[in-house]
């Protein structure tokens, strides 16, 4: 069913909010009053409710089915966390209230930071980044600040980035003026220390490495790579998108990481919400800790204070500045801490193990029918297939993805990482039951058999049973329609 746009059903004189017109008064707008209409139709409350409920019904979510998105960790979003985030002492406090009136909020931030630092064995945490990519930016800024503090700002301007990295990595490095030098992918899916060493030199500021990597593998040479990087006077930035595999199993600090962002909306289950809000705190090693941005929370004489200006940091601290107007994503902090308190250290370890177990169970269930680019060896919390098994079927990775929709599933991540042809990256997460995985494997086996048996139609025309058939993305990009415009008035019929 096609739900009309609100602009097609709304009226300019309708409102779903009852407000009393203020008594007459003399405005102080200095002649800058709006004269023209805005163009915002309204709906009554019942119409609003129905419009958005109906829209929601065209969406797929974790609560409606398995969400096997590699590298995106779509795990269960507990409603307890939603409830906690709405406690008035968290949701209804202003970032610029006197700190004496928000001691509990600061305590929560401090406690969240303590959990993150403990789980990673790092020294400090910068909470304020608004999302993963913002966290990357924060981490790389801290590295840049550290390099400049050492007087190497002019010379160290290269960042090594493996081909398998998320696109945000090179984008982030480039944004603040680093040159990106790729590290090629090896056949085994791993980054090799010799490839890194080869590229190291006095010009190298840092490496940006994802671990576990985007092929779903733990980098076995990570410690050696870290050592080589450090020996060369550079820093090890770790993309923490895949932290979910190793929480409570290994500490990035032990692996030599200097900075790592943590996607609270992946690892610690704050809801993705159709594309945000996220939250990307960055943990920092001792070497980078002084350069953490403002604001941050500090404990002093048993109470919590907020350092909001660079020059208030004190001691050896040399904050590189401010990343956002206020203190970051408080709403997400509450949810993430609620997740951590609920799991506890035992539950978080178990969750990592279950996430890895579930991914390997899928691997075991499909290895005979689909193709594993790096061989049938253990993976971490996601399993990567390529499209070799589709050879000569006329079916592409995209087609398989769309056919999954007809079977009632969200597609896996496709065509990422780029280093593998027709990649299909599957991350079931620890939230799925064995029964659910069995059904998922059976579904993919059925699709695989259908593809191999030549039932091409089932794939190339898919989806057939979704709220929409396949959408024309080229048309959307060719002449973009990015907002609703009122239809042109129909000309009066000729006399």
């Amino acid at each position: 069913q096609i739900e009309p746009l609100l602009f097609e059903i709304g009226r300019y004189d309708t409102t779903g909010v009852d407000l009393d017109e203020p008594e007459d008064f003399k405005p102080r707008l200095g002649g800058l009053e709006r004269k023209e209409a805005i163009g915002l139709p309204g709906l009554s409350e019942p119409e609003t409710m129905r419009h958005y409920v109906r829209l929601s019904q065209q969406n797929y979510g974790i609560d409606t089915g398995l969400f096997p998105l590699g590298s995106c960790t779509m795990k269960h979003n507990a409603r307890l966390n939603e409830r906690m985030a709405r406690l008035p002492g968290f949701s209804d406090v202003h970032p610029l209230q006197p700190v004496s009136t928000v001691q509990g909020a600061l305590e929560l931030m401090n406690e969240l930071g303590r959990y993150l630092v403990t789980l990673t064995n790092m020294t400090a945490v910068a909470l304020s980044p608004k999302a993963g990519a913002h966290g990357e930016l924060c981490g790389m800024m801290a590295i840049k600040a550290a390099i400049e503090a050492k007087g190497e700002g002019k010379t160290r301007n290269v960042v090594l980035v493996p081909d398998s990295a998320h696109g945000t990595n090179p984008a982030t490095a480039a944004l603040i003026g680093f040159k990106v030098k790729p590290v090629p992918a090896r056949e085994d899916g791993w980054v090799h220390v010799e490839d890194v060493k080869e590229r190291l030199g006095p010009d190298v500021a840092a490496i940006m490495l994802t671990n576990p990597n985007t092929c779903g593998l733990f980098e076995p040479q990570v410690a050696e790579i870290a050592k080589a990087i450090h020996d060369a006077g550079a820093y090890f930035y770790c993309d923490g998108a895949n932290f979910n595999a190793i929480v409570g199993k290994a500490k990035p600090g032990d692996l030599g990481v200097d900075a790592m962002h943590i996607n609270l909306h992946k690892t610690f289950s704050t809801p993705h919400g159709g594309g945000g809000p996220g939250s990307g705190p960055v943990v920092l090693s001792e070497r980078l800790a002084p350069f953490a941005p403002v604001p941050f929370v500090r404990v002093k004489d048993g109470s919590f204070e907020l350092v909001e200006q660079n020059n208030e940091a004190g001691g050896t601290a040399a904050p590189f500045g401010r990343m956002t107007a206020f203190h970051g994503q408080m709403g997400m902090y509450v949810r993430a801490l609620s997740y951590m308190l609920s799991h506890g250290s035992d539950g978080m370890k178990q969750a990592s193990e279950d996430a890895v177990l579930n991914a390997n169970y899928i691997r075991a269930g499909l290895a005979d029918l689909m193709s594993l680019p790096f061989g049938n060896k253990p993976c971490m919390h996601e399993v990567l297939f390529d499209d070799a098994w589709l050879k000569d079927t006329g079916v592409t990775t995209l087609d398989v993805a769309k056919a999954m929709i007809d079977e009632g599933y969200h597609p896996m991540t496709m065509y990422f990482p780029l280093v593998v042809h027709g990649a299909m990256l599957i991350e079931p997460t620890e939230s799925e039951s064995k029964a659910s995985l069995d059904l998922f494997v059976a579904m993919l086996r059925d699709l695989a058999m259908a593809a191999k048996n030549g039932d091409k139609e089932r794939f190339t025309g898919a989806p057939y049973h979704a709220p929409r058939r396949r959408l024309d993305e080229t048309r959307a990009a060719r002449s973009p329609i990015l907002k609703w415009t009122p239809p042109a008035p129909v000309a009066e019929a000729a006399e």
Partner: protein
């Protein structure tokens, strides 16, 4: 653990199916010495009741806006959000969905993003808007970078009325990128001479209205001068409700409009998550950062929506992207859209009038308190007071009396010699009693 569906029996069966003995066999690539044997040193799992108690205790240590007379603004505003909004954004299909990269099963998200873009474009008076930024401040940073791309210049002029934290965000980003920034002196009266800063080297001027001190700014002359010199005007706002009553930045010639959308649909949340609004003219579309949702058709010719122009974005362009932004503020933009739909044009403009009326009433009432001077000639729902004493002390004393009076300018601009200035905001939530309480408390303290 209540969130983990696997039983020990399941785990054994699955390990057997995989063909390994223990789960740690799957972690074989982790250096043995670094694989943790025991859970990390944090408390063990807790039931819901216990978690609720811990967090409720922390929550109870804070004074919430609804519980006291509340006049704190300076970039975030206490408004009433209808219950419908929060209910709808918690629906599973919105809350637990992913970025709509699979449009066939994400039309709910995509259509509201399209509605959001349309609303933001209308509100700002611009031709196109994106599907949201993290917040107003990071959006301002992105706007400056965008202006640099458009003009191929690298010097930004920041008005002295720009929220100091926004200026900080721009400066941090610019310093890291070795771009130039000129920050004008704090402009309490809204009378600074921006025009003299504009020349052919300037990429953009960034002007906020209502500015951080509450003054409304006439953007037209600034836009004209900027355009004469090939520079762009970036118009910033932190109070979206103001646009229900004042001229849109678009109608005054702004090239990029960026602002904080928190006021519509979103709670204070101690600073986040919020939602950045970002709009520009069509000619600059390809340099715009952030996600965009566009209309198209499906294989059955039914109307549908998709994320589009993603060739600008990092997951395609990598180090050539317009921005590294990946996540946006999806759910906050949904809250904005739903609240805006409920308001409609009629409701929004009435809400804006109430805000302005309450602020006028408050200003008049406070002006009569000894030791208080209202500095603004113009304002919307926030203005600056000069007090007889340092504002931070006064605010602290008033907090003890159960009144949250506003933001001392010294908190935003320490050392600027503006220690006696106080920013006071008033919205539709303030009652006559609230205003009387503030006036009375000020009288006692000053």
């Amino acid at each position: 653990m209540r969130y983990l569906p696997l039983s020990d029996t399941d785990r054994s069966e699955m390990l057997a199916r995989i063909g390994v003995n223990t789960v740690d066999d799957l972690f074989a690539d982790v250096p043995k010495s670094l694989l943790l044997r025991e859970p990390v040193d944090l408390p063990r799992r807790k039931g819901e009741l216990e978690v609720e108690r811990i967090l409720s205790r922390m929550s109870a240590k804070n004074i919430s806006a609804s519980s006291v007379p509340f006049f704190v603004g300076a970039g975030a505003y206490k408004h009433h959000v209808p219950a419908t909004v929060d209910h709808l954004i918690q629906r599973s299909e919105f809350l637990t969905s992913y970025t709509p990269y699979q449009p066939e099963i994400a039309q709910g998200t995509l259509q509201y993003l399209f509605e959001f873009q349309t609303q933001v474009a209308a509100l700002t008076g611009m031709e196109v808007a994106n599907a949201s930024m993290y917040d107003g401040s990071t959006g301002t940073g992105e706007a400056v970078l965008m202006a640099h791309r458009v003009t191929k210049r690298r010097k930004a002029v920041l008005s002295g009325g720009l929220h100091p934290h926004y200026a900080d965000v721009v400066r941090t980003l610019s310093e890291m990128s070795s771009d130039d920034v000129v920050t004008m002196a704090p402009d309490v009266g809204g009378t600074e001479d921006v025009l003299s800063q504009i020349d052919d080297s300037v990429s953009c001027v960034v002007v906020q209205s209502p500015d951080v001190f509450g003054n409304l700014r006439d953007l037209k002359p600034i836009a004209d001068k900027a355009h004469q010199h090939g520079a762009l005007l970036i118009a910033v706002f932190t109070e979206a409700v103001s646009l229900g009553l004042v001229k849109s930045p678009g109608s005054q010639g702004a090239d990029i409009v960026v602002g904080e959308g928190q006021s519509i649909g979103n709670a204070l949340n101690f600073g986040g998550p919020y939602v950045g609004l970002f709009a520009t003219q069509s000619k600059y579309l390809r340099q715009m950062p952030g996600r965009l949702c566009g209309e198209t058709v499906d294989a059955d010719s039914n109307r549908g929506f998709v994320l589009t122009l993603s060739t600008r974005e990092q997951h395609i362009r990598r180090d050539k992207a317009t921005s590294n932004i990946c996540t946006n503020s999806g759910l906050c933009s949904l809250a904005f859209t739903i609240h805006m739909t409920l308001l409609g044009e009629a409701g929004l403009s009435r809400l804006a009038r109430i805000n302005h009326a309450n602020a006028v009433k408050l200003a008049d009432q406070l002006a009569s308190v000894k030791g208080v001077e209202v500095l603004n000639k113009t304002f919307f729902n926030e203005f600056t007071l000069r007090l007889a004493k340092p504002a931070d002390e006064v605010v602290e004393r008033l907090a003890e009396k159960g009144v949250l009076a506003g933001v001392p300018v010294s908190r935003l601009l320490p050392g600027a010699g503006l220690d006696n200035l106080l920013l006071v905001a008033s919205t539709e939530v303030n009652t006559d009693d609230d205003r009387a309480a503030l006036a009375a408390a000020l009288k006692e303290v000053l």
